[in-house]
Amino acid sequence: MQTSRTNPSLTVFVATLLAFAVLITALSEGYGTGHLSTSFIKTLGKTLCLGLAALAMDLIWGYAGILSLGHMAFFALGGYMIGMWLMYARTREIVEASLSGGGLPATPQELEQGIASQIFGVVGGSDLPFIWGFAHSFPLQMALVVLVPGVLALVFGWLAFRARVTGVYLSILTQAMTLALALYLFQNESGLRGNNGLSGLQNLPGLADVDQATLSVWFFWASAAALGLAYLLISWIVSGKFGSVIRAIRDDEARVRFLGYSVEGYKLFVFALTAVVIALAGALYYPQAGIINPAELAPTASIYLAVWVAIGGRGRLYGAVIGAAVVSLLSSWFTGGRAPSIPLGFGRLDWVDWWQVLLGLTFVLVTLFAPKGLGGLFDALTGLRSPNRRGAALGPDQGALQEREAQK
């Protein structure tokens, strides 16, 4: 198969992921020895979802060269869409149970009213906004998980790419998009409970008798499967001529136009595809997190996504996943208060406060001195190295990039 030939990491990645999933299951509370706590299983499951988001980010930034700093908006939108169904269906169960106490079965109107006041009482409402119109149906709401972020990405991308907005201007525009969306969702009138967000998402409707220890392993498996499938899909996309076209767009988009390719069409395709992949990642992430609120759409969330990919090494898919996993796990360790503080003569260095500084410094250092990121370690292990030309052009004849420069 061409994909595995041009992407030798594919087999290794899938095998590693599988081994990891088996190991974690064996150590879990739900299915194994219980060495790992349920909350840690959830953290690992969430990390896999973040890896999936980073994978999509690598496709759009590392391969197509579009530095979108708004993709976490799609992640949160995916979460909101699944959250609406989870919250509606779960509330319905509770309301049904309480209404049936009267002896008579509840009428649909009573039921609807009960659900609406349960969900929206917190923001002083008692009617379901029309955007909740599909929340009663699992398949319809699942379709929205894909459609809402997908259509938003198509409309936004179409406007931005058609106007030939590129480079840093596009990055700023995507930041504005995610910020605007966050500010909108913060309002109670947006119909998604304002700054309260959606909560109780860890409880799956109809599975009240399944405990969280078991559920966490299910979600962990689903996240691992999604990551594996997405890795397969994106490897396949970048290994063929499509990958060649988007890398060409990254390097010289004007030239690609003169070859007859519609650059805008390709960018739009990649933008929307990655938005959908990230939305699915979000739809798997938030049931494990249990809660979603508009702060998840903050511009910094999308910047973190870019930082993970940069530290992991962009332009190589496994690098993005490793970057997301390492940085987000370290981040939760440092900010979780478990990292020991370092006493300095004049005060104490608390990692909760200083972790972000450390992360920022790491980002700068990686960008300057190790542009291949963590993924570059694999190159070092296999004896590949890049010629260090300090940005000089690949000159003619003797000066041209020589094959031997790339080997030890």
Binding site: R247, L259, S262, Y266, D397, A400, L401, E403
Partner: protein, 248 residues
């Protein structure tokens, strides 16, 4: 003989400066043409107009048997209609192999969906090898094109143009930065290509133009100053005044 490309009465101004002034130009379906002119004569702007990069203020640009107007088309649509362009500095995708570069250019469907599911057939591979052989790069198919010498990159770009199977080729200073031996080869290539399609060469180097041995159009201040054989235009008094007589 009907013209393949007909540019008539085209005018373009940038901030009040008339880069192209009422330019009229036409070329037949299998013709080699050299465009010469001093710096700022409008040679590059002319190419930009034909390839859709710059929109003229007035005038018309018609192409092909059906005389389709190019003015409403995007760069990509014009390229698909059959106009290929070679830039002055070699622009190949240096991070990709020679074979990948040629495959990108190969005449095939260009829409994202079709490209996503496109896989090379034996025929496509054969065509890539054939093109590479034509420009002497058959042994370098698997190499990254960034490793090629300057002259080889120029040829790779010419091969990419041929892979597109255009009906009209616009070539900007193909001999710039080449060794004399590479120049001779390039001349032969262009003459050979022009037997089956239209080729417009923009060139500074008179010696190179002499070797092409074709009809010459002299541009000056955005308009055609003279047209004819090189002998003819070099005897033209206006041409001598503005171009050749500058003590070069």
């Amino acid at each position: 003989m009907t013209a393949l490309l007909e540019v008539s009465g085209v005018t373009v101004s940038f901030d009040g400066f008339r880069a192209i002034n009422n330019l009229t130009f036409s070329i037949g379906p299998a013709e080699l043409r050299a465009i010469i002119g001093p710096n700022g004569a409008g040679k590059s702007t002319f190419m930009d107009i034909v390839t859709g990069k710059t929109r003229p203020d007035s005038g018309s640009v018609l192409f092909g048997d059906l005389s389709r107007s190019l003015l409403k088309m995007t760069e990509a649509q014009i390229a698909r209609a059959g106009i290929g362009r070679k830039f002055q500095r070699p622009t190949v995708f240096e991070d990709q192999s020679v074979a990948e570069n040629l495959t990108l250019a190969l005449r095939a469907a260009r829409s994202p969906w079709r490209v996503l599911f496109w896989r090379p057939t034996a025929q496509d591979r054969g065509r890539v090898a054939e093109l590479a052989e034509q420009v002497g790069l058959l042994d370098h198919l698997a190499r990254k094109s960034g490793e090629l010498s300057h002259g080889q990159k120029q040829w790779l770009e010419i091969a990419m143009l041929l892979a597109q199977e255009p009906r009209l080729l616009l070539v900007d200073e193909p001999a710039a930065g080449m060794t004399p031996a590479e120049r001779d080869l390039t001349t032969d290539m262009l003459v050979e290509i022009a037997k089956t399609r239209a080729v417009v060469v923009v060139e500074h180097d008179m010696e190179f133009v002499r070797r092409l041995n074709c009809k010459v159009t002299v541009l000056h201040e955005g308009a055609v100053l003279a047209e004819g054989s090189l002998e003819h235009v070099t005897r033209n008094k206006d041409v001598i005044d503005v171009y050749l007589g500058r003590g070069e």
